[in-house]
Amino acid sequence: MAKPKLKAHHIIREWCKGCGICVHFCPTNVLELDSEDKVTVARAQDCICCLQCELRCPDLAIEVETQTE
């Protein structure tokens, strides 16, 4: 099966409450909280499209769009 490739992270800033769950459970340390405690994508190139961030976000604030190569 072809590996999914990252297209984009879609973040709804107003919905993010800065709980840090996505940041902590990302296996490749892609995400960070910014100075306003909102999630931001710091190292998109490291994303392995595992969806751990999207699936565990309690606020439905982060979505990972992928494409299959």
Binding site: I12, K17, G20, I21, L55, R56, C57, P58, D59, L60
Partner: protein, 267 residues
């Protein structure tokens, strides 16, 4: 459909605290419904009162936000009058097993085709952190400042003993498993109970010094294990996750249909 097509976006951001596990239950539940390809019109969500019960306001299904502890009674009425609909009943631990404990065991005994989801954060979140029947001994709560002396119910044992025909448990760490269990529970014909161990960082976490929401979710990974695992044999204190009961027996609405048929024949 995308997950967001199943919510009432106008009510977001939702009212739950940062890191509240109830949001993870919502997230995973939407994915279960999406994966089953159910249309919004085929689903009724019936809830009681509590932080957990607020979930019914966020989903774009038929929804009923009822009375504390009474969601299963309302849901029974809905299901008996419209048995073709999928009725999902999310409940807090207090809602399901303190004030609503009687409804819970009798819905299980009747084996009525409802999907009961116990969002178990082991505390009354909405009213400020009182202990619940799922807190357990040694837990600190606003109503147990010197620690709780009451034993807790085991939701799985209670539901199984009361006659539920589908009984499962997981945690908010295991988001994919929540989705898988809910899919199976919704498809199951009979009373299904899915316990999701959920974090209330604001009251349970703070009172019991369990750290942040992240720490609490990490903890769920450490204190649980799949049913029958080697780890369970070596560490009996681990809490098991998975499907404990899955069996077919007469479902309540179909039994009732039989009675109607008999009565119509006049014998």
């Amino acid at each position: 459909m995308a997950v967001k097509d199943y919510i009432r976006e106008r009510f977001f951001p939702h009212m739950w605290c940062p890191g509240c596990g109830h949001g993870i239950v919502l997230n995973s539940m939407l994915r279960a419904i999406d994966a089953l390809g159910l249309s919004k019109n085929e689903i009724v969500m019936v809830s009681g009162i509590g932080c957990s019960s607020r979930i019914s306001g966020y989903v774009d299904f038929h929804s009923l936000h009822t009375l504390h502890g009474r969601a299963l009674a309302f849901a029974t009425g809905v299901k008996l009058s419209r048995p073709e609909l999928n009725v999902i009943v999310p409940m807090g631990d207090g809602d399901a097993l303190a004030i609503g404990g009687n409804h819970f065991i009798h819905a299980a005994r009747r084996n009525i085709d409802l999907t009961a989801v116990v969002m178990n954060n082991r505390i009354y979140g909405m009213t400020g952190g009182q202990y619940s029947p799922l807190s357990g001994q040694g837990i600190l709560a606003t109503t147990a400042p010197y620690s709780n002396i009451d034993s807790d119910f085991d939701v799985v044992d209670l539901a199984s003993a009361a006659g539920a025909t589908f009984v499962a448990r997981t945690t908010t760490y295991h988001a994919r498993q929540i989705t898988d269990l809910l899919k199976a529970a919704i498809l199951h014909e009979g009373f299904s109970v899915v316990e999701v161990m959920s974090q209330c960082p604001t009251y349970f976490g703070r009172k019991n010094r369990l750290g942040s929401a992240v720490d609490m979710v990490e903890r769920f990974k450490k204190i649980t294990t799949p049913i029958g695992s080697k780890a369970k044999r070596e560490h009996p204190e681990l809490i098991e996750r998975g499907i404990f009961v899955q069996k077919e027996t007469t479902e309540y609405c179909s039994a009732y249909d039989d009675v109607i048929e008999k009565a119509m024949k006049g014998n």
